[in-house]
Symmetry: C2
Amino acid sequence: MQKKHISKAVINRLPRYYRYLGDLLEKDVVRISSKELSEKMNVTASQIRQDLNNFGGFGQQGYGYNVEYLHTEIGKILGLDRKYNLIIIGAGNLGQALANYVDFERRGFFIKGIFDVNPKLVGLSIRGIEIRLIDELEEFLKVNQVDIAALTLPKAKAPKVASDLAKWGIKGIWNFAPTDLHLVENVIVENVHLAESLMKLSYKLSEQQYPSDK
Amino acid sequence: MQKKHISKAVINRLPRYYRYLGDLLEKDVVRISSKELSEKMNVTASQIRQDLNNFGGFGQQGYGYNVEYLHTEIGKILGLDRKYNLIIIGAGNLGQALANYVDFERRGFFIKGIFDVNPKLVGLSIRGIEIRLIDELEEFLKVNQVDIAALTLPKAKAPKVASDLAKWGIKGIWNFAPTDLHLVENVIVENVHLAESLMKLSYKLSEQQYPSDK
DNA sequence: TAGATTGTTAATCGATTAACAATC
DNA sequence: TAGATTGTTAATCGATTAACAATC
């Protein structure tokens, strides 16, 4: 069977659907129509139906969608029906903040190690996960099965570490360093560029201050 | 003069152009053509020229673009030619990590205060900025001119705080809480949804594991 | 059964790419 | 001047919205 190609735009929307369905679930909402959901989410009902039908028919004519079922199914599509082992490279403020973020575990993402170049940090523990020297990383990856590495280190160090990680078999990189990583094809990179996000906010603020006279 | 509407797709790309031009500037590159830049950035030269020409002609036929000039101009478009005062609401790990991120100041974003509901944190200082009780927020905003509030607090508390901030005159919200804020029109919200970013990575990892057989 | 709402096709809209005349 | 490369128009491609037959 020829699997349909899913556009990036659709994938970007899936986590948001998942979040809204999770919220509805918490409120014990049993069913929802694309129209109701579209009003809550501020998108068109048509878009919701198109998006979902990329993955199959989850609804029922005349009824709508069962919230719990749809939530579960989107979770499966997003790969949230399994567990992931994570490591954090860079035990600075951001790395430590991520390590402390308990919510990830609720979603099946388990932090297995934190690494840094700074020997002074070694031995410190965050929620029971001890900080290790980055020299131990290769060995650690031989012994532990790790799926994802979060990169919270300076831009200058990111490319080398990323290519090492790729070499040592890491499949996913969650990159917080303000640079693009050019890696081999079968390593997935997801970027979080905080500075760029802040610039977008700045753009929107400036734009509003001198509004277009259309 | 009728100002052209700039699409969201273009705005999203501007910070990346800015970053690449900054990198070139550091390497003392004086000029670059859309073709060269397109190869570095992995986009089409046509897209670069189209994007830039939304804002005016920054290049010169037969020559290309002057790196420093283009960098400066994109900076202006992004509103980086001015200063912004920031506060952080929520002095948890993420809030503290942001407060410690010196790089923002280099770009003109100055952290003026950190607020939290937890009285135990009050009095603590991060890089000279003391943590205050959130009850003091309204008064603080009367005395201090603040442009942007970063929201690093739990989802449940975010909507109320956000609407207070809007009421007290904040113009931009940098939202890290995993929820959509529905605010009055003239308040700009820029979201950073870390959990959703991680889900996208998870999706891409799952997809690659069971690759489409096209 | 009648009403509601999906799944899906068709129409529209917008964004990207290609092409090339203008011009440095 | 000849060559290079922009700025810009036209063509293509893809994504969103509208419409409606299918069906619960």
